[in-house]
Amino acid sequence: MSAIIPVAELGELVAGWIGAGKLVAAPVAVGDRLLYQQLASADQAVFDARRRPANSIKEFLFPRHEPLFRYRIEGRGIELSEVAPEEREQIVIGAKPCDAAALPILDLVFNWDFEDGFYTARRARTTVISLACAAEDEACFCTSVGLGPEDEAGSDAMLFDLGDGRFAVRAVTEKGKALFGERQAEPPAPRPGPEPKFDAARVGRYLASHFESPLWKELTLACLGCGACAYTCPTCHCFDMVDEGNAAGGVRVKNWDSCQFPLFTLHASGHNPRSVQPQRQRQRLFHKFVTYPQKFNAVLCTGCGNCERNCPAGLGVLAVLKAIDGEAMNQDAKEPVQA
């Protein structure tokens, strides 16, 4: 087998997987944007190395709505039953490297001490084939968080667009080899990716000493408090658990949730530790760039820029971090950091 695949052959591969009963997800054109969706047929897939889907692939491992178990209420008794797990193999193809890179980061939180079987079972039966980026836009900043347009983190195989209707394929893991066998193309000339947009170390230092700062209010005043950033983020993973049903029974479900909603931390007593939006914005940034790294030794961000693109007020982490980096630079100029 050649390591170079014409797009038509790629389509046949995808069609074959679907035909074999696998779940296949890929970027699909929806209106003016690309969205990762489960494919009904191979021709829906769009392999465009120059565009980024507006959502992320986390949905296929950590669905926005997932039943945990069913309950039946019979008089004073309760009967619980498991929801039949999805056992089909799953392939995500055409993932951006910044989406694939989120998976090893999410593995950490879903596996520390207690193992979330719903996530890990999905993860085990999912193969991720990413498509190296051929372009980036103003919102991209993977290089500022230690990744790049061809980073293999989280990818089982990687496709490279050769620009002539063909793709080079490189199997990275055993799972990738299971799909692509010995196809082991050398990647074409590597691309540098977006210019670094902030200095992560400097930002981290500044944040760590500026939990309380008037900057938060100033920088996040425009935040409207929706969850567009968190829900399109490849790494945001907070969730809620609720019961849905009627008097006879129902199902307990796990739903995405976001720290940007006031209800997220609201106690039944009425006390809310994060009662205003700047505090909630601060939590999101701290969780990503200070506390998740402290706890799991990984930045909870892959620089995909979705928060920036999807924010109705244009206020993603990039905008805020750039502003903070500016502050940090000024401060460092005033009081140089001791080496």
Partner: protein, 335 residues
């Protein structure tokens, strides 16, 4: 027509004057594309190589029809979001010297009146808000609903030739290029105002379908909803202290982004805006899943006009539809 650069200059002068004279404490406008209103902000980084304004994101291989991408025959080549100039974002100017951050161009999408009911913004003091003619309609409704005191607010109107490239659908039949209720207006309009007839073409297409087809359409659209509530948060008229979707005793609307939960939410969102929605289209613009939510509101607006001759935010003297009634209301559907 006044050239956008000149209008930006006049906007900045206006802002400076209002703040210097102490007429307002904050000016809410668009600006600072690519940066935030931070007084010590360093120069923004050099522009990146891709994508440039001149070169729209091309299909990845040269071949016509976009080889390298599997067939997607019904779809015109979509444009990448955020290609070209980033849209100016909302900025809050509290010092005259920061007036330079304000911008005016045809990417000033946001309806800034949404901020007028926010606690954090109210705390800044008396506000001036920069509005387009379409945004301004929400001021009329907000005042009717006692959410703002028009007298303690300064509206700076911008004469608008439409936003977006290509122009947003709502701009096609715009009748309010020149703001009508602003305290001062920047720019002059040429030619007569268009009529509202061109707006509803997509809605007409939808309504021409059978109910089963409409159901299938919305089922597919809502299937993408993740319940981020951007549609609600961005809406100037969704100002409830605690939304019914956030109440849990009892649960009126399931919080799940499931087929059932999404339908319940979108029915509620649309109907809570019935006879109130001013058609700014922010809900559709904000939706990360690209659901054309505004269509529901447009349909209700059409019915509101047909049945009651009422267009929210157009005439400050007109009585709102809800909260009033007439013995003559039609009841051909009631047994």
């Amino acid at each position: 027509m006044t050239e956008p650069g000149a209008m930006t200059q006049r906007l900045r002068e206006t802002c400076r004057r209002l703040l210097e004279e102490g007429k307002v404490q904050v000016v809410i406008g668009w600006g600072g594309a690519g940066r935030l209103a931070s007084p010590t902000q360093a120069e923004s980084p050099a522009p990146l190589s891709f994508p440039t304004q001149a070169e729209p994101p091309a299909p990845l291989s040269g071949a016509a029809g976009g080889a390298g991408r599997l067939a997607c025959p019904t779809q015109a080549e979509p444009h990448a979001p955020l290609s070209g100039t980033p849209a100016p974002r909302p900025v809050f100017i509290t010092r005259a010297e920061d007036a330079e951050k304000l911008e005016w161009n045809d990417r000033c999408f946001a309806n800034l009146t949404v901020y007028l009911t926010r606690k954090e913004v109210k705390a800044l003091g008396k506000a001036a808000v920069v509005v387009k003619g379409c945004d301004e309609r929400s001021l009329v409704v907000l005042e009717k609903e006692s959410q703002i005191e028009r007298g303690s607010l300064h509206a700076i109107g911008m004469v608008c030739e439409g936003v977006g490239t290509p122009r947003e659908a709502k701009c096609a039949g715009c009748e309010v290029r020149v703001p009508r209720f602003a305290d001062e207006t920047i720019g002059e309009a040429e030619g007569a105002a268009a009529s509202a007839t061109a707006v509803a073409s997509r809605l007409d297409g939808l309504m021409a379908k059978s109910p089963a087809e409409r159901w299938a359409f919305w089922t597919a659209e809502f299937a993408r909803c993740v319940k981020c509530y951007a549609c609600r948060q961005v809406c100037p008229l969704c100002y409830c202290e605690r939304c019914i979707a956030d109440k849990n005793r009892p649960v009126a609307i399931e919080t799940s982004a499931s087929a059932r939960g999404n339908f319940a939410w979108h029915i509620t969102r649309a109907f809570h805006l019935a006879a109130r929605c001013i058609g700014c289209g922010e809900c559709s613009r904000a939706c990360p899943a690209g659901i054309p939510l505004g269509l529901l509101n447009q349909s209700l607006a059409q019915a509101t006009e047909e049945d009651f001759g009422y267009r929210p935010g157009m005439d400050p003297k007109a009585e709102p539809v809800f909260g009033n009634w007439s013995p003559a209301d039609k009841e051909d559907f009631i047994r």
